[in-house]
Symmetry: C2
Subunit: 491 residues, 2 copies
């Protein structure tokens, strides 16, 4: 166990914060609830962005940028939307400071705004107000736009990456001529998120539909990907909303269809955020620090040279040159750590904490024998390989680590997934084992609330490919249930 | 001249806005002074970001992210800084809205913040407050960090891209152990900006130092790149600041040096913004719309097929396939416009307005003859070429357009640059010809202010490679002057 990192078993929450601190991913800022994303953490976000952006563009979307501020009156246009966001927002009321006698500054009361501005908690309102002028005819549809932006929600209880007052995200906002096309888009983007989570983050997810009480404020249907963290808790990792015509009606966005009828436009929105970094950490990392899937690791391979004198140094460097270039040319993200004021052992420990998937150590004897030592971060295993095979070995190991991380997470989820036939069994399972629990529910918000209040577990989703899609009776009320739904305690 | 675009000669300001609207780059938002950056405009920004980001990383910088909000008290820590930014900032005072009886929302007075938060106008204060904890010893220096972010300055007179209340930018913030290293960094990043402006934007710039009155609030020296727009006005396109120890002292950021002395850290900051898009438009575009340098054009080549019937359509598409892939595989950004509900002539006009550097038109006769027509946006010239030479021709033309745009802008600047030997000549030159005027100035802010008030011209910079570095007498006061400085009216 790395020093300065509390073990998962002892205190999972503290372990999470310790890993973030020791791997230098992020830290709290002097502004309550806001975080500073440090270079290593931001580099992970850049890799996530690059892959997601590519997937968005491959599915026909373009990026654009809408204002940070939303006029207060816009929020009230969609009744449920304002209900969902008005209680936690940053309100700009003035536009100027003035000096005070003691050398400080104070708000200049003469700069009070006529209408307050809200720092966007999400951009449906400002975007649909804009779309009104963009859409006249069915020929201008669909509009397939994504935005990379910062948003602010005035959360009281924050946790780095998982829930912060300001966070970075992408929000897709699309406009369609028909309901079916909008529904198709909603599901397509959910599938993009699933693919990204599983193939890049190595984080298995359940796709499903949220219950009415967990829906996005203003949506008809909210789809989600739900992941399981190592402590058995669920993490909502991304959402895709079918918004129906709610925002089109609120902002009067209509179009003339091919049949010459004037109709309201159909909408979707979908987003993932820096919360994914929290999910990534809590899916793979261990008591020694961060563990990163190779596809998202800023550094995939670190090379640590070992030498005692100048002759050895020259020999080792020249040897490393011979394969370092080969790895880089193959597109592998390699870092060579030549720093002289840190010892190899210190470097080993540091890269372990930082989660670099592969470490190559090379000393003078390796140079002579044309060998090198390759160590995996995930399994902590090492092997000595011939330098001629380095590229192939590294490529295979990176694939293997990616697969192994996914399989390990999947097995964990399977072992922590249960079925409850009764409410007693349900409660017992949550307390003894945790994890995901499938159970029958009568479909009413009242029962859902009762379960939440009594057990702290929520319905994570009604899974799309539900393995327990057989009718039964609600575990609480005994009323009919069409299928089991997925419960868990969650972040 | 494109319909809907006012000619430059008639009204340059209106021409600028017309080009932005017709090329669908951006538009005003319902929030005063904020803009919506539309997909085409944002794609240009993405290309700019990609190149700049690569250049920053090649010079050893990493990206990070700091909070959007700055505690009010932070601004007052550096005396000049608060003076520069307090008068134009968005102030967050509350964290909640509540419903009103008439179905609207109002600010909830019980949510008033203890300390107001300022939406960052620039991030020196929050970043230097963070650096304090990151730096203990000289071993942790330098810190070379860049941030891509949105910032807000409460401008009263706004103009799309050039001056908006919210804009997108990058801000580099570096920390160094010595003054010389920080000064070197300041100049290095200025050189990165110069290279980017000239090699990618095809926009020649003068590098120089700002006078005291034009310095960044809190800087010891502000370096800048100054470009000339087609109407002869100057545009400050990027700045790089040597901040000395001002922010280190304000936020108490010290380090233990190799000599065991505790010292204040030396700082730089540097930034360019979406203002560059305004500069790009005003450097190259014409009365027919946008003109884009190939290196930054989202679409470099558009292929417009022409057919009259299904047979011709099949023939033309198959023919286009044969070279489209070749162009794409070579990394050229090609768009094939297969839309059937728009005529070729309409498409030609649209891509001209949107500034696509090269247009390839292909009809059935071209397919038979293995020819195609290539039209340049910059010179409006067309040529018929053999399909076998398409890749080479397109590559050469793209290079040629890039060079031509730069040379044209450079010649314009040279023809609009003058030397004034007297104040009368200076005023006459500004009114008759405009452009850049070199003249002697006595180095005092009083004379600078007098010139600004009387002529609306400002000192753009004291050029680094000054072609007029000979001593003389101030054109206004007759007092000694070491060298001529660069004047212009500006945006």
């Amino acid at each position: 166990m790395a020093k300065n990192i509390t073990s998962q078993q002892k205190d999972y929450s503290q372990w999470y914060l310790d890993v973030i601190r020791e791997a230098k991913l992020a830290e709290h800022s002097p502004v309550r609830g806001c975080m500073v994303i440090r270079p290593t953490g931001y580099a992970i976000w850049e890799n996530m962005k690059a892959e997601l952006d590519r997937m968005f563009k491959e599915t026909g979307h373009e990026n654009a940028y809408f204002p940070l501020f939303i006029p207060k009156s816009f929020l009230s246009r969609e009744a449920e939307h304002v209900e969902g966001f008005a209680k936690e927002c940053a309100v700009v009321t003035h536009s100027r400071l003035r000096s005070t006698d003691n050398g400080g500054v104070e708000v200049d009361p003469t700069s009070k705004l006529e209408e307050e501005l809200i720092v966007r908690p999400t951009s449906e309102t400002i975007i649909w107000d804009t779309y009104r002028d963009w859409v006249q005819s069915y020929r201008e549809l669909p509009i397939l736009i994504n935005q990379w932006a910062n948003v602010v929600r005035w959360e009281m209880r924050t946790r780095l990456f998982l829930r912060t007052m300001e966070f970075l995200w992408q929000e897709g906002h699309t406009a369609h001529a028909t309901e079916s096309e909008a529904r198709e888009e909603t599901e397509k983007m959910l599938e993009v998120y699933r693919t990204f989570a599983e193939d890049f983050m190595a984080m298995p997810v359940i796709t499903g539909v949220k219950t009415a009480s967990e829906r996005f404020a203003g949506a008809i249907d909210t789809y989600c990907i739900e992941a399981m963290m190592q402590d058995g808790k669920a993490l909502q990792a991304g959402t895709s909303h079918f918004l129906g015509q709610n925002f089109a009606k609120a902002f009067n966005v209509t179009f003339q269809d091919a049949d010459n009828q004037v109709k309201y436009v159909w909408a979707t929105s979908w987003g993932v955020s820096t919360r994914l970094i929290g999910g990534l950490i809590m899916t793979h990392s261990d008591d020694d620090g961060l563990v990163l899937p190779p596809k998202l690791a800023p550094t995939q391979v670190v090379i640590v040279p070992i030498w005692k004198n100048e002759d050895e140094r020259t020999q080792v460097i020249s040897y490393i040159d011979s394969f370092n270039r080969e790895l880089r040319n193959a597109g592998i993200r390699v870092k060579l750590d030549m720093r002289e004021n840190y010892k190899p052992g210190w470097k080993f420990a540091q890269y372990e904490v930082e989660g670099v998937p592969l470490r190559i150590a090379v000393g003078p004897r390796d140079a002579t024998n044309k060998k090198l030592e390759v160590a995996r971060r995930d399994t902590k295993t090492k092997e000595i390989i011939d330098v001629e095979t380095v590229l192939e070995t590294v490529q295979n190991l990176l694939v293997d680590i990616q697969t192994n991380l996914y399989q390990t997470a999947l097995k964990r989820r399977e072992s922590l997934t249960s079925i409850a036939q009764s409410y007693d069994e349900f409660k017992e399972l949550l307390d003894s084992k945790g994890g995901f629990v499938y159970a029958h529910w009568d479909g009413t918000p009242e029962t859902e609330t009762q379960i939440k209040e009594e057990t702290k577990a929520t319905i994570r989703c009604i899974p799309l490919d539900n393995p327990h899609k057989t009718a039964g009776k609600c575990m609480v009320t005994g009323n009919p249930s069409e299928q089991m739904v997925l419960f868990a305690r969650s972040y």
